[in-house]
Symmetry: C2
Subunit: 417 residues, 2 copies
């Protein structure tokens, strides 16, 4: 039997999984490598961070997701580099992995715009570990306030600043406002969680820049209605332990969360020199990388400008469609055919604000408020992986909606972790 072509996929995110699934029909052996054993449904990470869902509700083992696929293996390993001249993927502590075709969906990490020291003070939200860190900080802030005797320090402990007004920042701010005003309301004695101050800072002229102004306005109204201070057009100049500086103003806050910058995974550097300023790998129309034969880059790590002149956004739908296209192109090449260019079909944009409001933009259809929220709920349940997860999430959302409760308010690990 002739040796089958070896296809390696780096990353079990939306792009990597879509590629793996599409390769089921191709005569090849697939290896998918990730540093975590699970795929995370990133659009709902903020719900884990705000104690609405358990990590297990939004994540599934990659091995389990792909269990029915023949000729595929899953490796839990950290990719330390790519040597496209030798056609191998370098793994930490293991033998290098040779490939004939490589699909790189290594994703993105936080960017602190050159201020890497801010990361310790203002954690971001990319992995389950990040979400658990944020959850611990939020819940501990209220606990410490309850034990505090100095009113000024109590106010400090109950001030939360979220930097970045994209969907993650908006959804975090809304969920946090709801916890403080509703879920925790009657459970403290020395402090009133409802008096918590929540500030959302956006450097650009408006929150949710990807949405049309009518929907942005309705999101802004919903946030203000929940008591969130929305500050637009103000840039953060300094973050230190307990304080955020915006221009001349200094905001003192115990909890600072980062939802602003995104940077490509460092692995992209091995696929240069064609990188954009955010470190993303500039790809050809068919997602191949010039100068690196057989290497495709997909998802948040790819800079694809051939469709609109600017890079496509780092969202789940772009990643899925790219993963699928790259895999189809691998299939064509294996059969001796040609690759086809990638074309993104935009299914629309959504964001949710607190308990029962959301905005959704599907081009001609724009909805907000409760209808938007129902639609948001439907779409997110639909795309979650695993029947058990869908049922469980529906159940949690239903009880949260009816009781205003957040079911997963657990502080595990010590606060410094």
């Amino acid at each position: 039997m002739p040796r089958l072509p070896q296809v390696v996929i780096i990353g079990g995110g939306f792009a990597g999984l879509a590629a793996a699934r599409r390769l089921a029909k191709v005569e090849c052996e697939v290896t998918i490598v990730d540093r975590y054993n699970h795929h995370v449904f990133q659009p709902l990470l903020y719900q884990v961070a705000t104690a609405g869902l358990s990590p297990g509700d939004i994540a599934s083992p990659i091995r389990w997701i792909l269990r029915k696929q023949a000729r595929l293996r899953v490796l839990l390993a950290y990719v330390s580099g790519i040597d496209s001249a030798a056609k191998v993927v370098k793994l930490d502590g293991h033998d290098p992995l040779p490939y004939d075709y490589l699909i790189v969906g290594a994703g993105a990490t936080h960017s602190y715009f050159g201020h890497d020291d801010w990361s310790r003070v203002a954690p971001g939200l990319k992995t389950l570990d990040d979400a658990l860190t944020v959850r611990r900080r939020l819940l501990l802030a209220f606990e410490e306030a309850e034990l505090e005797k100095d009113p000024e320090r109590q106010r400090f402990l109950m001030t939360f600043v979220i930097v970045g007004g994209g969907p993650t920042g908006v959804e975090l701010a809304g969920a946090l406002a709801e916890i403080a005003r509703r879920a925790l309301r009657f459970e403290y004695h020395a402090v009133d969680p409802a008096s918590a101050r929540i500030v959302l800072i956006e450097a650009g002229p408006s929150i949710l820049p990807a949405f049309p102004e009518s929907l942005r306005a309705s999101a802004r109204r919903a946030l203000v209605g929940l008591g969130v201070e929305v500050r637009e057009g103000v840039a953060v100049t300094q973050i230190e332990e307990g304080a955020v500086s915006i221009g001349g103003e200094r905001l003192e806050a115990h909890t600072i969360l980062w939802a602003a910058g995104v940077a490509a995974a460092p692995l992209g550097r091995d696929l240069g020199p064609g990188l954009d300023p955010a470190g993303r790998v500039i790809v050809e129309p068919d997602l191949l990388v010039a100068g690196h034969p057989g290497v495709f880059v997909v998802g948040d790590l790819a800079c694809f400008t051939h469709q609109t002149g600017k890079p496509l956004p780092g969202v789940a739908q772009v990643a899925k469609q790219m993963g699928s296209r790259a895999a189809a192109n691998v299939g064509s090449l294996i059969k001796g055919g040609k690759t086809a260019p990638f074309h993104y079909i935009d299914p629309g944009n959504m964001a949710t604000i607190g308990r029962a409001a959301a905005i959704a933009d599907f081009g001609i259809l724009r909805v907000s408020g409760f209808t938007g929220w129902l639609l948001w709920l439907f779409v997110h349940i639909l795309f979650l992986i695993g029947f058990r997860n869908r049922l469980s999430v529906l159940l949690q959302w239903a009880t949260a909606y009816l009781t205003y409760q957040r079911s997963v308010r657990l502080i595990t690990r010590n606060p410094d972790a």
Copy 2:
């Protein structure tokens, strides 16, 4: 208004919660202190450790559980000591807490019988953090085996030793066997998880010493049926990284779990000199502690011998009934009355083995097998706190039963954490 008597409860476990609830009817102010913000349903911890349930399914914030109770506050703080002469509870980093009556339900921790260095190698199962540590180790063992090329080291990675044949050890061994033989079975390529070796070691003459021999035998059969090696009457003489010594024999195993010894919380030392060899505080018939006026000790920390001549076991039912009795006695003292002695009513004993077998001992009624399992399921769902938790756990168990799947196979945090 005259100042109400101050009652402090240490610990939000079964004993502490039962005491807090009973005090709702007493004219006093209650403060409950715990180092965690949540109550854990400890009998199901092993299910979190074996990826069957999420931490959020078996734990609820203490604040939320007691939210409807007036004149009660919850503090998240670490109790560093008790000064019963000054009638204060000392808190780490906060002002001491004065009390008129104190109910101490600080519980138990692992005992490594003087070998504290074993704790790093062989983690036990007392808190959610413990359970997540065990889950990470188990899952990583299979992942590392998949990446390993040396067959001998693969066998080493897939060998699991559980020290201690009480209910926790038996339930862990059964659940682990099931994961390996069923849930993971078809998802690995380089190794067959079904070939994992699982050894359960009990130093005493039999596993499950608290059960009658007929039920022990049926538990033993169920374990052997799942492929667990049950070794009884052999004492562990040494544990080091990757190996357990039992007498002259050396068992090499990547994963070693500790379910053997339990020691009273160190806080008990402040309530001496009447301590038993396990460090438990010897209590009077009414649960008061001689020489420490107004101090009651309840739950796993108490050594109560007045009923049977030997200490009552460290189980949930004893803790609940003690907490309730101590609180009732506080109520009597506040009204100028007398305390009543504690009397334990034993509702029976249960343990589950793997997927659909359990044993239950209710004195005249002894059941095992599938009937025992259904009963076990019913009782555990019944005693779980919170409507949402009950539904969620039922849902997970139903899908696990139908699909053989474990829904929470997530490896979070780095392996050394």
